[in-house]
Symmetry: C2
Subunit: 422 residues, 2 copies
């Protein structure tokens, strides 16, 4: 068995051999988790930051929900199989993954819709303030939702967007809520959640963290960091399936005064009383709006369960090692500009490189079974999900990338032309 080597080691380990990578896998305490996922033959899957792969238990569970619960028990499953409690039950599990207190996290709607709900709630809790502060290049849906909301309210609210480096100076007493994505979808850069939350609180602002690119990939400490509000995605590192429902978190101390704009029947204090007047359910349960998509929610439940079977500390440690190795192996490859911070404290669970021919390179990689993804104009993203990505996968991915670069005529002007019509 290979001895474990510290993560920093790989910064200069561009000469790591494939055997050494395999040895690291043999020593990996998460190695067995890979067996819980369907990873197709010939595929190196480095896109779990976009859509996590299928946990093997999910097919069985979804079939059971479809054939037994829906098919045989029909409407009775809302109570007999606990469908009605699923949003709270799965939310509670996600709460454990993100270090949130019990009763603060629930599954509902999509990340976009949840952002809308919590932005409205934040503005309502800070009625004298008009600014939503965010950073340039935040995930588009976060920006779009805030734009849509300020246009809707027509009460002088503004979305103030600044470069990340200016966030602290832009945090003033006009800011009602600081809305940030914890890990940037494009670069993989990670914010210091505790520090920014403290800074926001110092000026009386709330924080709304989008955890889409961090939940399931690292330990989070929402309670300890005193986070007010958060949302996140179920289909990336939580492996909940395509378009899995999202989640949202509201700190206990804010729940009594929490007013949400989407007041659906399932967030009512007594949904089955069918009253004419809305009365919010107690606590976070009011954030459920309409009837949740049970098949997708059941799949999310299974994905979350897989993550709960290990420690996010172990996941994070392997994630950093995988990324360090990826970065180190790429050092010798010219033309790739690393976008992800090198410091472990400053990055999430992906590595991103800019390359002028990024789109074509990614297409060529995908053809050879190395699945990452491309973000315009020139970013190659590689997600490193420790539950199923092996050290040898990173080694093979970089090796394939080298082959691609060697074999293709990226300098050919005809190629440039093809690219432009894609």
């Amino acid at each position: 068995m290979a001895e474990r080597r510290p993560a920093w080691c790989y910064r200069r380990t561009s000469d790591l051999t494939r055997d050494e990578a395999e040895a690291l896998d043999r020593a990996d305490e998460l190695a067995a988790f890979r067996e819980r996922f369907v990873i197709p033959d010939g595929v190196i899957y480095l896109d779990g930051n976009s859509l996590g792969p299928l946990p093997k238990a999910t097919a069985t569970r979804v079939a059971q929900v479809v054939e037994q619960e829906w098919g045989q028990s029909l409407i009775r499953s809302w109570t007999d199989h606990g469908w009605i409690d699923l949003p709270m039950r799965v939310g509670e599990k996600i709460g454990q993954l993100i270090g949130a207190a019990s009763g603060t996290t629930v599954v509902a709607d999509s990340t976009s819709v949840n952002l809308f709900k919590l932005l409205v709630a934040a503005l309502d809790l800070r009625p004298d303030r008009k600014a939503i502060l965010t950073e340039h290049g935040n995930f588009p849906t976060d920006l779009y939702v805030a734009q849509g909301l300020t246009a809707l309210l027509q009460c002088g609210h503004v979305l103030r967007s600044v470069p990340a480096t200016d966030l602290l100076t832009a945090l003033d007493r006009q800011v009602a809520v600081l809305m940030l994505t914890h890990v940037n979808y494009r670069s993989g850069a990670m914010h210091d959640m505790a520090a920014l939350t403290r800074a926001a609180h110092r000026v009386g602002a709330l924080v709304l963290w989008d955890l889409s690119h961090s939940v399931g990939a690292m330990p989070l400490r929402l309670a300890a960091d005193d986070v007010d509000l958060a949302v996140g995605c179920g289909y990336k590192y939580l492996n909940g399936g395509p378009g899995a429902p999202a989640f949202l978190h509201v700190a206990q101390r804010l729940q009594a005064d929490l007013r949400l704009p989407l007041t659906g029947w399932l967030g009512h204090a007594e949904p089955f009383a069918f009253e004419d007047l809305y009365r919010p359910a107690c606590g976070i349960a009011r954030a459920v709006v309409g009837t949740p998509p049970i098949l997708s929610l059941a799949a999310l439940d299974v994905g979350v369960d897989v993550s709960l079977q290990t420690s996010m500390l172990i996941v994070r440690e392997k994630s950093l090692r995988l990324a360090s190795m990826f970065i180190a192996l790429m050092e010798s490859e010219p033309g790739f500009n690393l976008l992800t911070p090198r410091s472990a404290d400053l990055r999430g669970s992906q590595v991103s490189f800019a390359h002028p021919q990024g789109y074509a390179i990614m297409q060529a990689l995908i053809k050879r079974g190395v699945i990452g993804d491309f973000r315009a104009p020139d970013v190659l993203r590689f997600g490193l999900a420790p539950l199923y990505v092996r050290f040898v996968d990173v080694w093979d991915a970089v090796s394939t990338l080298r082959d691609v670069m060697r074999e293709n005529a990226w300098h050919d002007p005809r190629f440039q032309q093809r690219r432009s019509v894609t």
Copy 2:
């Protein structure tokens, strides 16, 4: 083969025999559709107005989406298996069922969230008007969403709720939008969509119809009736599965000026350009907000396909006959107060009765395999979905109800006590 008898016939046919009911089933041109659904042995399922049963093809399709599309093709399925187009594709199919023009219907979110989106759009299209007009006893989520919205906007908007009989007189030039559910969830009473839409248009108001209890159970003519806006549910008569995504409709003539408040990344003109500024997608596609729950959406697709394989005219005719028969057979049963209008023009696809012991009676029925449902305080609802409910089911359901009434001591004061703590 039994001759088909006109629907009115059963109003006085409380002496119809079981053999005669079976003969009607043998002559039923929809009879073969029942084979496409899983109906558990010993169950008479009269709750399809709450949750439609499982189409047999759904289990196969969902397994394929899970195991092949997600499991094997992973992220590539967004394009290779057309996930990205599913909201528009399934929406287009639903558009056919509701008589809407092409390009006016899309699947997204829940009915509640879609109500919110379209109410905002309606108020935006009628900026000088402050009233949302609806009726007492509309489905709670419709009322709650409107209440949440008026509270959010704080611009003097009001939800004006009147008895159904007062709708026409309440329709004045302060009304921005008339929001009604086509078929009442409790009584099964049906509005005249064409007439009310005309009346609203006469005073310059828009209409927003909630089709949750009519889509899939009858022909609808949204284009011909000049309906502005509509929403509807996927898990009732569309048999899309528990919490299936909902749909919404916006008439073509309103789409150019359509401003929706929930501006998510998937409603952007170019989602994969990841621009910082929101630009709405062309037409109805902008109503998609976040990433849709694909497993649930694929199940909905199958359910909709089943309905598309017949004519809603045929479905409606059988629905009326089933209901007429149910009502006729119940005439001899004392203590049940029919809530559903007797006139075919005034009712949807369910029959409802009030009975002081409604809750306990429904529990007893369910125990014997006759699954309807109960709505407080005293309503027994029986959904009559013509694709799988047989005439003999209606006969057997009423027969079981008679047994229940004969065998139980509803007059026993101890029972009254039990009921009150339920």
